[in-house]
């Protein structure tokens, strides 16, 4: 069973442990500016929303990549950026309508959530279980994809 990130904003306290864990996992430093998951704070609603790539079925980034640098990981289903292939053209960053693949100036490459190979660091770090990694069926993945679909101009085959 494929697993995916399940985010429950109502449990998020805004501690940013997820952002630190992400940057440490991927960059070896505590640097939230480089985190692939981002917590948005809606102060006057009293709401904090962790937000990252949903590994959407449409894979806009993957389709837009001109050099085949983004591929699907067979084990996790994650769309993964192969840094050795990425040329840093940033086309994926404007193609992804969710804003979840971003250019990193230091490396001259793009980055996105890769589910840490199946053991997401943000999940381990989250103290309130606002971010969990569970069987895809349980995650409301369809719900997430549904809103993904709102911006979708891409085809869905009826065949």
């Amino acid at each position: 069973m494929q697993k995916s990130l399940h985010i429950d904003p109502s449990k998020c306290t805004g501690c940013l442990q997820c952002e630190m864990a992400c940057s440490y996992e991927n960059h070896g430093v505590f640097n939230i500016a480089k985190s692939r998951i981002k917590v948005f704070n809606f102060e006057h609603e009293g709401r904090k929303v962790p937000y990252t790539c949903t590994q959407c079925a449409e894979a806009w980034c993957l389709n837009a990549c001109p050099v085949d640098a983004i591929r699907i990981d067979a084990a996790t289903g994650a769309k993964i950026v192969h840094e050795d292939v990425c040329v840093g053209c940033k086309v994926c960053t404007i193609a992804c309508p969710f804003g979840t693949i971003n250019y990193v100036a230091d490396s001259g490459k793009v980055q996105k959530c890769d589910l840490c190979g199946g053991d997401p660091a943000c999940v381990t770090a989250c103290p309130t279980a606002a971010i969990t990694y569970v069987d895809a069926d349980w995650t409301g993945l369809d719900k997430m994809r549904q809103w993904a679909g709102k911006t979708n101009t891409q085809p869905r085959a009826s065949a």
Binding site: V49, V91, A95, S158, A159
Partner: protein, 414 residues
């Protein structure tokens, strides 16, 4: 079912792969004109600055990718399409029959008609072969004159500068990338590249080029002359449609297609830069030679060719540009909408800029400079025609909060 695809750029390759997924039994032939594996022009600047080898530009990396997916690659130049017999004819008179044909022949760079444009030393920068030729001549310290500061011109600028050339750019418009960026943004990009040592002439064209020994001398419309070693012509592109003459396919500058990416001729589809599809906002036919658009159209075309049902919702202009390290983007109707409202936020000192344009409470276009995080959400907001409600007023006050607006509107409490 025999599928034939003319053109092996991103549109052709994505279409071939999509066909394979939707029609496992089909025979698929992908025709390319150049003696190269299918590659991406988007990657040429990175080839030109030496950060990747030839293979780094290839659209697919696995050596047996096409074979593995049963996609037959064929090199050749198609000179004619014969709809009655459902045949394409090659320059060597060879013929190939099809059940469904996809025209994904892309476009070619325009050489403005001026004296001397065909002299040796005047290059376009479009193909890998062009890039190799430029790489050979644009040695460190050499002088390069670039005609045109549009999208292509801007993305190759960095590659040229990193080769250590002395670069002069001549642009007809009043700013850099005039067809992609607001006046303010285009001017900021110009100031940026000038700061980086590039000499920029706007509101100027080249009127003639003459050879002077090994060098070239270009005369500009303002009378100035520029002596240079290499001239690169990046003055725009036109769809490759010459071979469709006599096919009966309806065309303007490009091939007319409907929302299924069908032409008006039975069993012939078109996708990518060669098309004139309806615009996302206008609904009018427009040319839109950008990579993500090509990939989207190719998928729609392929699914329909395979008997599925998919519709293209209109071409949305989205662009990203890295001009000597300054990153800019534009989306949709960045110039605004009649009767709409907009906000422009400028920080010239730090080279940061953001413009958002609304129609009612929907974002219709955006331009940014100096921003890389979450820019895709601008596409999401525009393409999703997302109603912003109270966020619109907030964004008019502080446009930099667009990502918060996007997250807020998409991650509603259930």
């Amino acid at each position: 079912m025999k599928h034939v695809i003319i053109g092996n750029g991103p549109a052709g390759v994505v279409a071939a792969e999509t066909l394979r997924r939707y029609d496992p039994q089909a025979e698929i032939t992908l025709i390319g004109e150049e003696a190269e594996a299918p590659y991406s022009r988007m990657a040429i600047p990175y080839f030109l600055n030496g950060s990747i080898p030839d293979q780094g530009t290839h659209l697919r990396k696995a050596g047996d990718h096409y074979e593995h997916h049963g996609i037959h690659l064929r090199q050749g130049s198609v000179v004619r399409v014969e709809p009655e017999s459902q045949t394409v004819v090659f320059a060597d008179d060879a013929e190939l029959g099809y059940d469904r044909l996809l025209v994904a022949s892309g476009c070619h760079p325009v050489r403005p008609p001026l004296p001397g444009i065909d002299l040796p030393g005047v290059h376009t920068c479009w193909t890998l072969a062009d890039a190799r030729a430029i790489a050979e001549r644009a040695a460190p310290g050499s002088r390069v004159l670039q005609i045109g500061a549009g999208f292509i011109g801007c993305i190759i600028m960095e590659a040229l500068c990193s080769r250590g050339v002395k670069l002069t750019v001549v642009e007809m418009g009043d700013r850099m990338v005039p067809r992609m960026m607001t006046a303010k943004a285009g001017t900021m990009i110009r100031h940026w590249v000038e700061k980086k040592g590039v000499s920029v002439h706007v509101n100027a064209g080249v009127t003639q080029i003459v050879a002077k020994g090994d060098a070239l001398v270009a005369t500009l419309s303002d009378g100035a002359t520029v002596e240079t070693d290499v001239i690169i012509c990046a003055a725009g592109v036109r769809p490759n449609v010459a071979f469709l003459a006599g096919s009966g396919i309806a065309m303007g500058h490009g091939v007319h297609v409907d929302e299924h990416m069908r032409t008006d001729v039975r069993n012939i589809y078109a996708a990518g830069d060669v098309t004139e599809a309806s615009g996302f906002h206008t609904g009018e036919r427009e040319l839109n030679a950008i990579q993500p658009n090509a990939a989207d159209q190719a998928r729609v075309a392929a699914i329909n060719m395979a008997g599925g049902e998919a519709r293209f919702q209109g071409a949305l202009a989205i662009n990203v540009l890295d001009t000597l390290g300054m990153i800019s983007t534009s989306f949709g109707q960045w110039w605004g909408s009649e009767g709409g409202e907009g906000v422009e936020r400028v920080d010239e000192k730090n080279y940061r800029y953001l413009s958002l344009q609304f129609k009612d409470d929907v974002l219709v276009g955006a331009t940014s400079i100096g921003r890389t995080d979450h820019v895709g959400a601008l596409r999401g907001l525009v393409q999703g025609r997302m109603r912003l409600g109270a966020w619109k007023e907030k964004l008019l006050k502080d446009p930099t909060q667009f990502m918060a607006a996007y997250v807020s509107q998409t991650q509603k409490v259930s």
